[in-house]
Symmetry: C2
Amino acid sequence: MRTISWSDSEGGRIILFDQTRLPLEMVEINVSTHDQLIDAIKRLAIRGAPALGVAGALGVALIMRNSERAGWSVVDRDQAIAELRSARPTAVNLAWGVDQVRPLIASGSGAVLERALEIASADAAANRAMGALGADAIELLIPGKQLRLLTHCNTGALATTDWGTALGVIRELHDRGRVEEVFADETRPLLQGSRLTAWELSQLKIPYRILPDGAAASALFAGLIDAVLIGADRIARNGDSANKIGSLAVAVAAHAANVPFFVVAPESTVDRSLADGSQIEIEFRSDSEVTHFAGVATAPLGSRTYNPAFDVTPARYITAVITEQRLYRVSEGETL
Amino acid sequence: MRTISWSDSEGGRIILFDQTRLPLEMVEINVSTHDQLIDAIKRLAIRGAPALGVAGALGVALIMRNSERAGWSVVDRDQAIAELRSARPTAVNLAWGVDQVRPLIASGSGAVLERALEIASADAAANRAMGALGADAIELLIPGKQLRLLTHCNTGALATTDWGTALGVIRELHDRGRVEEVFADETRPLLQGSRLTAWELSQLKIPYRILPDGAAASALFAGLIDAVLIGADRIARNGDSANKIGSLAVAVAAHAANVPFFVVAPESTVDRSLADGSQIEIEFRSDSEVTHFAGVATAPLGSRTYNPAFDVTPARYITAVITEQRLYRVSEGETL
C-alpha cells in the first residue's frame, strides 16, 4: 500500500488510497484529471501535509500530460495549476509541491514528472531522518523507561509518502524497543486518529489506546503520558505551528502538566515568510462534519457550528520542532 | 416535558424522558422497578448530577412501594437500595438523594415519597437561585457587552428537574438580554452537547453553535469567548471539581487565555468529606462508546480505549464555584 503513487498506464494516473473509507475498507482511487485530484483533496481522500506536497507536484505532472495530449491553452493549463495549488489553504506543502515543479513546466511533462517523483522519494527519506532525530532526542530526554506517547490526528504513512512524521518517530522508538503504549486522540470531527492512526498502529502491532480528544488532558494530568508528538501543516519562523484542530488544547494541557510536546514535520512545512502564526490562514469546514455522523443527525436540524480544521499552537508550548535537518528549541526562543 | 417525575398510577411509577433518543425523538420511559431505574441510569437515559439526586430519592420511594406490596425482606429491600445508590460512582448526588430519604424508611413509603418530592421541588428552586446568583456575578464581572459563553456537556433542564445549573445561568442571562451566542462543546464520546444542550438551546431560541471539544481552545485563544460555564458531578472542599470528561482541557485553555471559568452546581454536589479532588472516584466506561457510532465501527476491531467519563479540574483553574447559596472564589484559595 502506498498513500500516493504514479502510474504510467493509460497516459498517466495518480493512484491514491481513499482514506475516507478506512478502517472499514481499503479502496484505491485512479485519478486521471486535476478535477478528480482536487475533489479527492477537498474531501480528504488524501490528506496530511507531506502527502499533499507530493500530490501538488504529481498533480502538475498530470496536468502537463493532459495539457500536452489535448492541446490546452497556456491560460487553461495555468488555471488548472492555480486551482490545484489553492485546493486547501492551511497546509503550506500543497502549494510548496506545486511551486517545486513549476520552473520545469517549460521543459515539458517528462521533466515535471521526474522532479515530482524525486520529491516523493525525498519525502520518504526525510521521514526516516526526522524519525531517527526525534527518537534520539526523546531517548536523551527520557532515558531508561518504556514510553507512553500521546499523538493527535494522523501523521503516519497515510499522511506522507511513507513512514510518517510524528508517528514516524513513534515507529522508530518502537523499533528500538522503547514504546510501551501509544495514546491516539480520536481527532474529531473526522476521526483521523481512530480511523487512520489506530489502523496504522494495529497494522504495525504497536500497542495503542484511542481516547476522546477531551480526555487527553485527563491522561496528561494523571501522569499517564511521557511525551506528546504531533505533526504540522504550516510552521512560522518563530515556531508557532498550525496543526489539526485540537492540537492547541493538548499543547496547553501538556505544558500545564509539565510533559514535553514535540512538533515533527519536514522542512517543506516551514513557511519562513511568516514571522509568527498570526498570519496563518485557517480553513473552516462544513457544519455537517460536526452535526452528522454516517448520515445520522447528532444535533438539531439547522444547528450552526464552529468548525476550524486547524488551530495554531504558540511556540511557547512547543518543547521543540523536529525536522529532517535538526531540532529547533522554539519554546526557548530559537527560530527556524 | 419533565426530566424526571412521579406518577401514582399503577401503584407508583417514575416517568423519565429518555435522553439517549434526543435529538431524533422524544420518548418517555415508565419505570416500575429498581432494576429498570438502575438500567436507565447506567445507560444514561437519565443523567446529570442534580437529576440523579432526584432519581436516587424517588428510586427509594419506588423500592419502598414495591417492597410493601410484595412483602420483601428487609435484607432484599436494603440490597435494592444499595444497588441503586452505587449505580454510578462519580456524581455524589445519586448517593446524596438516597441518603436524604433513608432516615424515613421506618416511617413507610408515604413519608419517603413526600420527602423525595420535596427534594425535586427544592432542586428546581435551587437552580433558579444559582441562575440568578451566577448571572449577577457575570454581569458584574463583564459589564456592558453582549456575551459569548462557552459550555461543556449538558447542564440544562435535562440534567436537573427543571431550568438547569450552568445552562440555567445562561438562560437567566438570556432572559436579561445579555447573551449574544452560546458555544456548546459537542462533548464526546456521547455528544451530550450536540444532542442535548443544542436541543435545549434551540427550544429556547438562544443562538448557539456546536463545536468539537478540541476546538474550544481555538475559540478561547481567538478571543471569541467571554466566559466559560460548566456543571459538576462532585466538588471537593478546596473547590477541585469533577465534571464530564473534557472539562479539564477547557479549564486549562481558559486559564491560559485569561477567560473566566465558572463551575455552577447545587450544594448537594459538594462533597465536604473530601479535602481535594484526588480522592474522587472516576467512572470508566466501555470501549464501544469510543470505537463505534450508531452501530458503525470508527476504529479497527478490538481497539482498546482510554474512556473516563469524568475528569477533575483543579481549583486553581476555577474562577469561582457558584451554588444556590453563594459564590466561592476557589482559585483565590476560598474553600467550600
